[in-house]
Symmetry: C4
Subunit: 198 residues, 4 copies
Amino acid sequence: MDEPGTDRLETFSDGVFAIAATLLVLEFSATPGPHLGHELRRLWPSYLAYVTSFLTIGIIWMNHHHTVSFIGRVDRTFLFVNNLLLLTVAFLPFPTGLVGTSLQKHEGEQAAALAYAGTLVVMAGLHQVWWQYARRDRRLIADAAPDSALRAVDRAYWPGLPMYAAVLLVALFSPLAAVVLTFAIAAFYLPSAALFDR
Amino acid sequence: MDEPGTDRLETFSDGVFAIAATLLVLEFSATPGPHLGHELRRLWPSYLAYVTSFLTIGIIWMNHHHTVSFIGRVDRTFLFVNNLLLLTVAFLPFPTGLVGTSLQKHEGEQAAALAYAGTLVVMAGLHQVWWQYARRDRRLIADAAPDSALRAVDRAYWPGLPMYAAVLLVALFSPLAAVVLTFAIAAFYLPSAALFDR
Amino acid sequence: MDEPGTDRLETFSDGVFAIAATLLVLEFSATPGPHLGHELRRLWPSYLAYVTSFLTIGIIWMNHHHTVSFIGRVDRTFLFVNNLLLLTVAFLPFPTGLVGTSLQKHEGEQAAALAYAGTLVVMAGLHQVWWQYARRDRRLIADAAPDSALRAVDRAYWPGLPMYAAVLLVALFSPLAAVVLTFAIAAFYLPSAALFDR
Amino acid sequence: MDEPGTDRLETFSDGVFAIAATLLVLEFSATPGPHLGHELRRLWPSYLAYVTSFLTIGIIWMNHHHTVSFIGRVDRTFLFVNNLLLLTVAFLPFPTGLVGTSLQKHEGEQAAALAYAGTLVVMAGLHQVWWQYARRDRRLIADAAPDSALRAVDRAYWPGLPMYAAVLLVALFSPLAAVVLTFAIAAFYLPSAALFDR
């Protein structure tokens, strides 16, 4: 019996990312009535939160999937951290729904935005721990992975935590701005940095 | 580190399509009571909307899956457009539920049908952008893909946007007719055009 | 461009079966209160309906997966029938929830059981059409598939429709007996007949 | 037609594990209002139950995936037991939600904790039956699997049932302690014992 590889970790992770993104739609609700058109327009904060979280999960998943390709073996600590990371991702539909609904109702916006940003901070922190644990002294790195590829992942991963910490700070002053900033990170920063850095 | 291939994009996409289709069932609800039989028959617009959206997602997924086989590499713009396309597909259960419920209650039908048709228009538009971005000057096309296959995909994709724009127009006059037309497109047009054109 | 194979059909189908089975749990609900223990015991019809539908989907999925291995190519009619079959399977959580709730509340049991049995009849009928369409004159059968294997699938598939028609008949007299009979079919008949017949 | 292998069993199982874990998030709910921050802090038992069940499903899935690699063929009894195991795993979101809500409301905690622990006992029992059935006289074991690997799985599996029986006992006295103990098992015991024993 060899040291376990990354196959079973990848299948489980792939499933959780795709399902978490698709479950986001269940946070929408509207009651058909004579003013449905008006009600659907009033849902705009939920649309914003939905698009933001969907893009974020999509990009995080691609980063995870890409980085796993440099990992040659796993150990129990790594599996545990991976599961913690996945449960944070799978939790995202809950604060996403809260942010949308609270911005519509103008009630509880700050608490909702802090919960949302806090989840993203934990996610970015765990992703960093996940990578550093595997990468330190090439503990779990595949022999074939060149150092330059590892340094590219380093550069792609390190801004995650400070960026989402900034989102958390912004949420203290403007919940809406915090969501817009998260959207901008998912749309402009993440794809360029994490997947195409050389 | 090579240019990233399409594997990670495909796994994520496959998952989102299958989950979005299966989540459609959660839009049904009925309360068991002495008139349950009557209530279940009154749900017919929800059955129609369910079948229409399920078939549409199923066919779109097969087209996506088929077309990806001609794509040899991806870049950041393509990944971003792919994620936008997926989030539109994953959104479909929400307007599908609205269309079914509003047609039953005879309230808000037009707003619901416009939301439904609007989602389909955005989806068809993004699918077209997705394909044209990859295909222009064979930017992301695999070397082995023959031009005849690309032209077959062109012919299969171009009617999507005008067809769903027509659904949007019809929704202004008859919400029910808009859903029936969407059903007809999924049942009769899409399978023949997109997958078996030579 | 060759005639399309069964790969994309299988991935989509596998996802829908697994998701439909797992969504069944969402039909349960109970309100924590001082009598929660009593309430949880009163849910027994929902447990029975859950186990019955989960086993049924599990077995149908294995039959589908097994039979697909004899199919070498697909055409547009086959894809359409496959999608109809999948949307029937994905629909099952709705009548499963109705059957459980109505048997608890002693209201609307017959309508719920007829909806449940009716869904199973449609599913068995579509599965039969799906197979007969592929098998007639070996229209879509892989060259390597021996006739004896096809005859084994024939023998396994033909009793599905009459069995679920019997469930529908029983539902007219006893909704509970109809669910118990469906459970017995999933537990005793399907595994032996469909997968291990030679 | 050969004896069926484990491929179709694995695909279905992988899907169910990932979906069940990700559906756990749907048990959360909170209403945005002026006291949302307070309300979100009061949800701590739901967070605890969520993390506990997610980690448990993640680890059980890895054990299942790992053990299947030693199994070379399946029979109808094994498939049936595997489906029973999966339906128990897929059921876990329901008692997980109950435990969280009842600990918040201080009502029905014992019934909820007993339902939760009872589900885990059934799951551990079925996992043991699943393994013993395959392993007895190497009934379904692949020829290449060494006896030492089988003994490692034996050692990893046998404590499951007594551990969760202990959780059930503890639930009679302290529902909260039962959940904490389940968390400790998922965090500390399962990863070390089941996956890395030699």
